[in-house]
């Protein structure tokens, strides 16, 4: 870890002073839960000269929105969101994704805003030395020919195939959540889809944020059918492991036909992967295993694999089918 200075933002004008401190200094970064950031500082992947500690800012808590949605403060800890009765009731897939992510200790530390900003787990990015376009634009991508079992198959480019690691971002993508931010200029709102950038030619750009822009909240709009949603996560280990494949899904079936459906995939995309092709294929059609399967195939047709992760599209297809079967069979949560 490089030498760093520390500034704690707190008090009445804490948010403004934090914004100013980071905006005015390219060498300053915000520090929230630290679960990714401290790790990457120690690895020499990140190298700010100063950290602005925002943990004392009044950005924690869950508010109910008039439409039945929720506004989750950026500094609300993952564990507090997971155990919130209103989240469990209205958006069980959010609660479930949180509980299945990381460990109890990490969930106590990590903030929801930080979760949106978390970095990829690609070993070549994290070792601070291998060629990595995300860390050092133009350096090349060691993962393309390297050990890539956990890497992405959707949204990849010839410059980066790192998987987006978040669990909770997967149901949030399915729910059309919004990211609220602040800069010195005022407040901004991003649609979830716009907030996570595909690597393309610029894998180092992961979000549309400007330096010094601070996430203040995540808004989750109401979605009645999400009360019977699920998050299904497949991994080698039974716990404490990132997803090889995960599915967040909610479905509404009327008279055997799909009235509405929301699906997002984790573990397979370079960003939390909203499965719009699958959704489009399903809506209005029969709620049968066969149509689930066709929808999954439609979504995964664009998958590009390496020899080591060639199993992922098939695993994703099966997981998606299983998720929808489970929801339509008895509506129970996985």
């Amino acid at each position: 870890m490089r030498p760093i200075s520390y500034l704690r933002a707190e008090g009445a004008d804490g948010i403004d002073s934090a914004l100013r401190a980071v905006t005015d200094d390219p060498g300053s970064d915000f520090l929230a839960g630290g679960t990714t950031e401290v790790d990457l500082l120690r690895q020499h992947v990140l190298g700010p000269r100063r950290l602005v500690d925002i943990n004392r800012l009044p950005l924690a808590g869950i508010e109910e929105l008039p439409d039945g949605g929720l506004r989750i403060g950026a500094l609300t800890r993952m564990s507090d969101v997971a155990s919130s009765p209103v989240v469990q009731e209205r958006f069980p897939m959010v609660s479930r994704a949180l509980v299945l992510g990381a460990s109890a200790q990490l969930r106590h530390m990590a903030s929801m805003g930080g979760n949106m900003m978390q970095k990829v787990r690609c070993g070549y990015y994290r070792d601070a030395e291998s060629p990595c376009n995300k860390r050092e634009p133009g350096a090349g991508c060691a993962a393309l020919t390297g050990v890539s079992r956990t890497h992405a198959v959707l949204g990849t480019s010839e410059h980066c195939i790192a998987t987006h690691p978040s669990d909770v971002a997967v149901p949030l993508a399915a729910l059309d959540a919004r990211i609220r931010t602040r800069t010195l200029d005022g407040e901004h709102t991003y649609a979830f889809d716009d907030f996570f950038l595909e690597p393309g030619d610029t894998p180092h750009r992961e979000h549309p944020l400007t330096h010094g822009e601070l996430i203040t909240a995540i808004e989750v709009p109401a979605l009645p059918m999400a009360r019977r949603s699920l998050y299904l996560k497949v991994r080698d280990r039974e716990s404490y492991e990132f997803a090889l494949v995960s599915v967040a899904a909610a479905i509404e079936v009327r008279d055997g036909k799909v009235g509405g459906v929301r699906i997002a995939l984790g573990g397979v995309g370079t960003r939390p992967w909203r499965a719009r092709r699958a959704e489009d294929a399903l809506v209005g059609g029969p709620a049968t295993t066969k149509s689930f399967d066709l929808a999954a195939r439609a979504e995964l047709a664009a998958a590009r694999t390496t020899p080591m992760n060639a199993f992922k599209p098939e695993l994703a297809r099966r997981t998606l089918v299983r998720a929808l079967e489970t929801l339509t069979r008895d509506g129970s949560r996985s």
């Binding site: 870890m1 070993g123 291998s130 280990r237 716990s239 199993f311």
Partner: protein
């Protein structure tokens, strides 16, 4: 010499009782100090820098930025470290002598033999500063082509004369395997592949070194302080009497701290350089390149049997990469060639010179992989000859070691197989596999065995009784989690006739009597032998003193008629007559009495062979659609000879069985062929089981008396728990979904690759 006693004979002595660990209090309160936790004035911290190429030469090292960094005291490289006295030859630490992990020492020249090879060592006043400065050392290389995996070096394979530091021949034959296979009614010929594995104890390897004049003290995390002492002394070229090694607690090892790797010596050299104490703890990532691994391997196994399933031939070949320095392969063929009666046998090791460290011992080294091949093939043979897999094992059971022809000193395999079957409910296997929602349930089994190793030279212990009636018994063992301090307290208390509360066992320091490293499941056997010898000698001394003392109620008695109970020497036939040890010493103004004991292993030409046997049974659930395998239950039965502490022995066997689960389903280190780097060198990506992966484990003992291996008949429990678990799980998967998987670990994509026909 086998005596089967289904219900263990109760003894009233401390040995065998499920005593709580004597070091439990220290461990649960955080007061147990491990090697990197010793507080010293003026302590400095060292961090290693590893090579980024697999083979080549260093063309330049720029350490200027590191040297300028705040708090940095020294940057050591091959240009300024100085030369070691001599490169010792690889020798297992059980030999009780010099035991380097490989026949190579880094930072002696510019040549790079493997990625991660230590190329620099940064010493600074704090850990954070040393870690940061280590990132500032710039090393340039002239890279050369390398070989790091089997796939790259298959053409270069050679047959070594011997492996395993010369202890195991490269080729073993008996009978005529070729002819027997040709004539066999049934043959099974299969190839098995195994990923490389890393030990990953939670405590990373660490050493703290300081000099007082020309005397060196090292706090080391090791399986044997004596091994560290001899190795570091030899490398430094100083008498081992000037090196003291202390290691009270080792935070797990599993073979990774069995040999002495480079860091303790480097810590000592750095401490001499900066004139202050140096602590050198490996990072988690460095644990993958700086203390060995279980090598990637490929095994081809061919079984020949008659139509009743009786083995007539066994051919077992292994191919694996070794380092540029040593002919190392874990001895995978050994136990697999001794488990069943089979007249015709051929075992051959082939090696590939590769750019890695010398592979090393990792829990159940060889047995865990060799038995996977054998016991998976046996399951297939059972299917071919239409026999229950359990019946096939019983049919091939032997009372003699097929390798030497000698009878087993004790056995118990048959009883273990029967007991394990009972515990798992093996009769359920006859019915079609059960279904539980999306899960298919399968049962599988395998036999288990592990050799009984002994030390090469005499082991020593010292026993002292104080005038207050308490005793201290000492030997230079280290607790790596086995419970050695607890069981030796029990052994000493029993021999002295003292309650355990009045007996203290001390280890972890080379100033204490010399014993070899706790490796190869041999610790309990050899240390109990010497502790028992020392404590018995002291007890005889005390009795002799009493019967010769006119002031003693026992004066003139025959020592053979004297018993000791609760620290009181009494006449066996008149327990009212006697006195306490304490009374004897106090009356004679003796502050204490002391005896040493020495025990040497039985001669090699004893007319017996020794092996620890067991049996493993697994119940697994397979979701063939999602490729998931979850182990619901493991049941193991073992015949490890005398059990010194039922609680700690059970725990070790349980841990070994979960290690087997881990080997079967999780553990794989992926070598990146181009760079020679282990691509998943972290506990986030090298998967070991978490709590949720570990099912309840049923451990049962079959008591066998062994009067040959050592005085107490202890055969060891450290590793046999792992042997046979992986094939039991693979065989259970086969039972559940009808597919044979011949690679380890078995992961989601393996189940997925053919799951369609099984599930739809």
């Amino acid at each position: 010499m086998t005596t089967i006693t289904p219900t263990p004979a109760p003894t009233d002595g401390p040995v065998g009782r499920p005593l709580d660990r004597v070091d439990g209090h220290a461990k649960v309160t955080g007061t147990a100090r491990y090697a990197a936790e010793v507080p010293l004035t003026g302590l400095t911290h060292a961090v290693l820098v590893g090579a980024r190429v697999a083979r080549g030469r260093i063309t330049s090292i720029d350490s200027a930025a590191a040297e300028r960094a705040e708090g940095v005291l020294a940057v050591l490289t091959h240009e300024n470290l100085g030369k070691i006295a001599a490169q010792p030859q690889l020798l297992p630490s059980l030999a009780g002598s010099v035991a380097p992990g490989e026949t190579f020492f880094p930072m002696q020249g510019d040549e790079i033999h493997y990625a991660g090879q230590h190329v620099a060592l940064v010493v600074a006043d704090t850990y954070e500063r040393a870690l940061h400065a280590s990132r500032l050392v710039r090393v340039s290389y002239a890279e050369e082509p390398s070989v790091t995996v089997i796939a790259q070096g298959r053409d270069q394979a050679y047959e070594p004369e011997a492996i395993f530091a010369g202890f195991v021949p490269g080729r073993t034959e008996r009978g005529d395997v070729e002819a027997a296979l040709g004539a066999a009614a049934v043959t099974v010929d299969r190839t098995f592949t195994f990923a490389a594995n890393h030990h990953n104890p939670i405590e990373t390897s660490a050493a703290t070194a300081y000099w007082e004049g020309d005397r060196l003290t090292l706090h080391d995390t090791t399986q044997g302080v004596t091994a560290t002492q001899h190795t570091v002394a030899a490398l430094l070229g100083i008498p081992h009497t000037r090196v003291r090694v202390i290691g009270h607690f080792t935070g797990g090892s599993f073979g990774g701290k069995a040999m002495v790797w480079h860091h303790p010596t480097l810590a000592a050299l750095a401490a001499r350089k900066v004139g202050r104490p140096v602590r050198l703890a490996l990072t988690r990532e460095q644990m993958f390149v700086a203390c060995g691994h279980r090598e990637e391997q490929e095994q081809r196994l061919t079984l020949g049997a008659d139509e009743d399933g009786r083995l007539v031939a066994l051919r077992h070949h292994k191919l694996s990469p070794t380092s540029p320095f040593d002919h190392w392969a874990e001895p995978s063929l050994g136990v697999a060639g001794q488990l069943y009666a089979c007249p015709n046998y051929e075992g051959v090791y082939r090696l590939i010179r590769a750019n890695t460290t010398t592979p090393t011992f990792m829990r159940c080294p060889g047995e865990a992989t060799g038995l996977f091949a054998l016991e998976t093939a046996m399951d297939e043979l059972a299917e071919r000859v239409d026999l229950d897999p359990l019946e096939l094992r019983l049919r091939n059971y032997t009372e003699n070691d097929p390798a030497s022809g000698r009878p087993w000193s004790s056995n118990g395999l048959r009883e273990c197989l029967e007991r394990g079957a009972e515990r798992i409910g093996w009769e359920r296997r006859a019915a079609p596999p059960a279904r539980d929602g999306d899960w298919l349930i399968g049962l599988g089994m395998a036999a288990s065995a592990y050799p009984v190793y002994g030390p090469n030279n005499p082991q020593r212990a010292r026993a002292r009784l104080y005038a207050d009636g308490t005793a201290v018994v000492q030997a230079a063992v280290t607790d790596i989690g086995t419970g050695v301090l607890t069981v030796m307290t029990q052994v000493a208390a029993e021999a002295l006739g003292l309650p355990v509360e009045r007996c203290r066992f001390e280890g972890g320091d080379t100033d204490l009597p010399n014993v070899a490293a706790a490796v190869g499941s041999s610790g309990a056997g050899m240390v109990s032998a010497t502790v028992h010898t020392a404590a018995s000698a002291l007890r005889e001394q005390l009795i002799a003193r009493a019967v010769g003392d006119e002031g003693s109620p026992l004066h003139g008695a025959d020592p053979a008629d004297v018993d000791v109970r609760d620290g009181r020497m009494v006449l066996r036939d008149a327990p009212g007559t006697g006195e306490d040890y304490a009374e004897l010493l106090q009356r004679n103004f003796l502050p204490d009495m002391e005896a040493t004991g020495s025990w040497g292993p039985p001669p090699q030409d004893a007319p017996f062979a020794s092996m620890t046997f067991g049996a493993q049974f697994a119940e697994v659930a397979v979701d063939p659609v999602l490729g998931l395998v979850r182990v619901r239950r493991l049941a193991g039965a073992f015949a490890p000879g005398r059990v010194l502490n039922a609680k700690t022995a059970r725990s070790q066997l349980m841990g070994g069985m979960i290690w087997g689960l881990s080997q079967a389903l999780l553990e794989a280190t992926h070598m990146e062929p181009g760079t020679g780097r282990w691509a998943n060198a972290s506990l986030g990506e090298y998967l070991v089981p978490v709590n949720a992966d570990a099912p309840d484990v049923d451990v049962d003992f079959i008591e066998v008396r062994d009067t040959v291996v050592n005085p107490l008949g202890v055969k060891g429990v450290g590793e046999v728990g792992q042997a046979g678990v992986a094939p039991a799980i693979a065989n259970a998967i086969h039972h559940a979904i009808g597919r044979r998987l011949r690679k380890l670990p078995i992961t989601i994509e393996d189940i997925l690759s053919g799951a369609d026909e099984a599930s739809r």
